[in-house]
Symmetry: C2
Subunit: 334 residues, 2 copies
Amino acid sequence: MIRDNLSVHLIARPHGEPNLENFSFVKSACPPVPPGGLIYETMFLSVDPYLRGRMNDVKSYVPPFQLGAPIESGFVGKVLESENEKFKSGDLVFGMGPWSHFTATDGKNLSRLPPEFPPSHWLGVLGMPGLTAFVGLFDIGQAKRDETVVVSAAAGAVGSLVVQLAKQTGCKVVGIAGGKAKCDYVKNDLRADFVIDYKNENVLKSLVERVPDGVDVYFDNVGGEILSAVLSHLKDHARISLCGMISEYNAKEPPPGPNLRPLLSKKASIRGFIVSEHWERRAAFVAEVAPRVMAGEITCREDVINGLENAPAALFRVLSGKNFGKQIVKVDAL
Amino acid sequence: MIRDNLSVHLIARPHGEPNLENFSFVKSACPPVPPGGLIYETMFLSVDPYLRGRMNDVKSYVPPFQLGAPIESGFVGKVLESENEKFKSGDLVFGMGPWSHFTATDGKNLSRLPPEFPPSHWLGVLGMPGLTAFVGLFDIGQAKRDETVVVSAAAGAVGSLVVQLAKQTGCKVVGIAGGKAKCDYVKNDLRADFVIDYKNENVLKSLVERVPDGVDVYFDNVGGEILSAVLSHLKDHARISLCGMISEYNAKEPPPGPNLRPLLSKKASIRGFIVSEHWERRAAFVAEVAPRVMAGEITCREDVINGLENAPAALFRVLSGKNFGKQIVKVDAL
């Protein structure tokens, strides 16, 4: 069977906000099945803020994307043809792969997915964002019953699970999000105790009003002014779990950070983490969270854009906070 | 016996740098021995950067000094008269007390000092600064053999012990200090592997040259630009032990802090601590460090100013980095 393939390549590194000129859409012939390997069709792509970092040519926790090569991200795909004994045609697979309709691989870094959940969940609530929420809240943040937990980007893929896990642990939860629709979702669907609309409120003032005793755990997805505000209202021995700094991913020069005096006066800590160092927690995470998703006790929201050709636009949405829920691209290959 | 007493009071809170107008020298009659208590004569006062914080009327880890009352700090004194069965005349005692020649107390918060060491050592290498170095380096910073440790204010009371403890643990040690005399001391007497003179060098550039692989543990006494520089040169999983921020204690408004992106990319942490929450480590600290001081394996330097009336000037020295070694006031009472 001969098919046309399409891939999205990085062709120029962005300065500040990325735009369509940083990408090209490259047509090619579909590759043959490699000996002992397989070909899969990409069904869903995960679009996450960290991809912006990989577009820069700097050393970071993941290597930069190469110019003239496809963007890569998490995906769910379906095996089309296989010479690999671990996979057969029709299997659902999960891994990190190129932004392409069709991909040839030896299959080493793929895992087969169980059929009980919508496939896209493995990119969101049960995937990397879900594990990020779990590790950041419990392992890094050490959140415990009756503590006050604040989470920014609370309507996002990671934040929405942080809110729900913290609530189900018996914490008092403040979700910070931008705009009425997201705030309503955080309050009504995710059941945060309080919500702060950072686009329409003074975050520090609202935080002091809603949790006057201060914050035990801050799960930070954004950095910037919201981090400064929360730092001004910590309890003794507070822990800040630094998961992302989306507020400055597009910055050309690193902006100054918050005054750190509260870390001293409150004997508090900030710790950065990256979920890829915590895969050993994945089994515990899935065992704990998947049944609750199945039972409807944990809700998740996906923001799906159709078409591989719209993947860059999906990334722009994520970087500007326009997505509402886990950003996914549904790839229509055939 | 009737004696004149002298005390140093805080009479006005400073804005920015304190000066002599914030203090008054108050004469009074020496108090009588309280029932079941004692009177001691102050021999040495400890002068530390944190005192500046207590001069402000803000909630912090220690309550503010009261206007019209004496400044208080660590001291070593000699019991003059006692009705307390735990202490007798001539005993050396240690505690927190007022900046006064003579003090009447119930004796509850005093401890008796063993006679083997110079009394002033209990305010420095074997006292609060020593325990601060020990806790901050090992408990907070988790420094281990073969790691690279950087310490700022390396010639100071805390920093000088950090350098020596880290060296004796098998770490590679970089001491940061200001000026040739202090840097020579850090290199030749404390035996740091490298020294950086922040007054005459670009800290980041020198750090990259001397320890190109980066920093595992930063023991930070100063905050500000030096913290920013070290943050730019961390190894993966680095720990920053935040002990003090003397660079901004006199600031009228909290200045912005360092960009925190490296915490994310290096999966690193910053943790503030205050030694008063770690007294339970004092026995282990004294057991480990006192014999080494006795054996001459650990050196310490004291910067002694004579006369209670010069105690405010001693504080100004500490806040401007002019002291060289643990700042102590030798009180001549009689």
